[in-house]
């Protein structure tokens, strides 16, 4: 039993932390968040040069990491810095889908993703879905050698700036069957593909992507026809871990800022941190954040375990993070009082990010239910589809 990270991983985390502290200050971050692009191409390149992208991929996929703990370490740092660059969408979600299911030709795309030269995106949620993984109405039908894609994808991360999308589409089955889902690689330049970008509450941009009879050639299919679900689940699972770790970093930053405020801010002539009611609430918060950290560790450790073990640990973590992240956000604002309500204070942006993470890849209730359902599934360790 050993809770220390390896030397390499610690070094990466340290250099990433130093880089963010030096280059990704609050002013810079907010300027990037409000920019029309929603992230910085320059800083994106710097992250790539630092090896942050490489750390997210296994060696066989062109990286030098790719384990659960690699993802956790990187995203905890990114969370502390409220980093906006498209690591989740490009490297974790789209990247893992390609790595897991891609043909050799498709996997050739990974090199550019790892280098940061190409940004990919992941288009799964739809206007009518509420986190369901198997609910896909976007359709792809065979057309000669290729496919024709129709549908709308919602809240697609940095969709305006992706070179291509990994898109989930139904090629057979009922609307919520796990079977019959296929994945496609769709270039942003495809005819009939329209992107409408919009800013988000927590910084950065997303898009609604519409596919209007988009014609794809036969090589666009990622993996086997109708068997996209396990790949979807694996990619989203890694994304869940990344979000959990990001939230952990954000919580630690919010906690530290609030502690600092309690120690220095005076009211009625004394530091407000001397009020016992606030002390006890901070103690509760500390306990919760430690539990959140344990949840992230459990999820990272389970990433290569059998499916049920892995998915239950991931859902347990996302549930924990959703519940605790919202609590931390609300309590930290409340303990700051009025100033915690202001845009100018970094704390309020951590709070927004924490709450919004609960709206990505399944919220607290979704993952609690999923955890329960997975516990009931007969025949543990068998992959579906």
């Amino acid at each position: 039993m050993n809770f220390e990270h390896t030397e390499e991983r610690r070094m990466l985390a340290d250099s990433l932390d130093r880089f963010i502290a030096a280059q990704y200050g609050f002013e810079t971050r907010n300027r990037i968040a409000a920019s029309s692009q929603g992230f910085s191409t320059e800083l994106w390149q710097r992250f790539a040069e630092l090896g942050v992208l490489g750390a997210l991929f296994r060696e066989e996929d062109g990286g030098f990491g790719g384990s659960g703990h690699d993802i956790a370490v990187v995203f905890e740092s990114l969370g502390r810095g409220l980093v906006l660059e498209p690591l989740l969408g490009s490297a974790v979600l789209a990247g893992e889908a390609i790595a897991a299911a891609g043909s050799n030709a498709q996997k050739a795309l990974l090199a550019a993703i790892v280098e940061g030269g190409t940004i990919a995106s992941f288009a799964h949620d739809e206007p009518d879905t509420h986190y369901e993984l198997a609910r896909v109405t976007t359709s792809a039908r065979r057309d000669g050698d290729g496919w024709v894609l129709d549908g709308v994808k919602s809240v697609v991360p940095h969709g305006e700036h992706a070179a291509f999308f990994v898109v989930s589409a139904r090629t057979s089955g009922a609307v919520d069957d796990a079977r019959g889902i296929s994945l496609f690689l769709v270039p942003a330049s495809a005819a009939g593909l329209a992107v409408r970008g919009m800013p988000t509450m927590d910084g950065g941009r997303v898009a609604q992507v519409t596919f209007d009879s988009v014609r794809l050639d036969t090589h666009a299919l990622l993996g086997e026809d109708g068997h996209g679900y396990p790949t979807l689940e694996r990619a989203v699972g890694r994304g869940v871990l990344a979000l959990c770790a990001e939230a952990l970093g954000a919580m630690e930053a919010a906690k530290a800022a609030t502690l600092d405020y309690l120690r220095t801010r005076k009211q009625f002539g004394v530091p407000i941190g001397s009020f016992q009611a606030l002390q006890h609430r901070m103690a509760d918060l500390l306990l919760e954040v430690e539990q959140a950290r344990s949840a992230v560790i459990n999820a990272a450790a389970a990433l290569e375990a059998d499916r049920i073990t892995r998915e239950r640990a991931l859902s347990a973590a996302k549930y924990s993070i959703g519940r605790i992240g919202t609590l931390v956000a609300e309590e930290c604002i409340q303990l700051h009082g009025g100033i915690g309500m202001t845009w100018e204070l970094p704390l309020s942006h951590y709070a927004k990010r924490l709450v919004m993470i609960d709206h990505q890849l399944g919220d607290e209730d979704h993952h609690l239910q999923r955890y329960i359902d997975l516990g009931r599934e007969p025949g543990r360790a068998h992959e579906p589809v």
Binding site: D125, P127, D128, T129, H130, Y131, E132, R135, S154, V155, V175, D176, R196, M198, P199, T200, M201, D202, V206, Q208, K266, Q267, F268, F275, A277, L278, T326, E330, I333, Q334, G337, G338, G340, M341, T342, W343, E344, S348, H349, A351, K352, V355, M356, D358, H359, Q360, D363, D365, L368, Q369
Partner: protein, 402 residues
Amino acid sequence: MDLNFTPEEERFRDEVRAFLAERLPERLSSKVAGGRHLSKADMAEWHAILNARGWLANHWPTEYGGPGWTAVEKFIFENECALAHAPRIVPFGVNMLGPVLIKYGSEAQKRYWLPRILDGSDWWCQGYSEPGAGSDLAAVRTSAVRGVDGQGEHYIVNGQKTWTTLGQYANMIFCLVRTDREAKKQEGISFLLVDMTSPGVEVRPIITLDGGYEVNEVFLTDVRVPAENLVGEENRGWNCAKYLLTYERTNIAGVGLSVAALERLKKVAAEVRRNGRPLAEDPVFAARLARVEIDLENMKTTNLRMIAAVAGGGVPGAESSMLKIRGTEIRQEILSLTRRAMGVHARPFIAAALDGEEDAPHFGPDFAHAAAAQYFNNRKLSIFGGSNEIQKNIIAKMILGL
């Protein structure tokens, strides 16, 4: 024991409903219902409509233009307005300064300022909080020094006020200022009316975490205020301040607003689908929703009980702290569930949609564009107007005797 309104009260409620049906512009109510921002003109319009009906200054005696309502009638009016998605009355002139002038103002002040509140000639804002003071209102540092010059007696005011809601629209601000630096904390404070068009007044926006602009900092640098703008006695302004705060707590439970918000939540939860069924039928979400609905049902009665105690000669006071805490918790929970119901569609944030621009992009379920913004904006409920922690201190001292 009778929880029903009297026949007179029911008639009154019908009268209010009829008025709202006839006079509340649909353009305004749909903005409120949709969580969109109201413009200055919107707020002024509603102010004028209420004034024309004589239903604006509900806490004023009839001799000054108040409607002469009982506590229950005030509750009914506020409740019905909330249910109809009427804009809230901008309270600073009507509900806060008005009662202070009526109790502490000179005859000349009443004659001059009260009609101007009613007809909208002045837009008032509040100069109470100061940076670094938070809920400790008596920690006033803004100074006013009395002097005489060619134009007569006056004060020179220097200092800074903050959290000044809608100060960007105001031409007048009532301020707590320190007129005696030697006196103990709550003594030596005076209550001054300051013309914001005077030289030396600067208003700077405070943007809240949701990107909204409602509150301001107000900087006062060598601002000359005529001595006749002093309300009450010099160094006795804390009495005005405390008296005003009791009116700030009017309708503090916000039951009508919570009912309206809950109705919207239920509509959203019926519309949004999870696993092919309405989210409202998801057992865990349904339980969350039912819990807050029951809490609100209980709160309605708690609120009415306390209103009845006041109406029946009971003493209000620390009870308003109880209403504030639970009322804000319930509203925050409803807004939290509304955000939760939006799923992935809670994240996009389109300011233009909140500002009511017609061609702003639409996405996800109805109200998705406003759910997260309203949730974040309303974290203020448990902070402003005396934080819920301060209210608990008050309860511990005044009710529990601890």
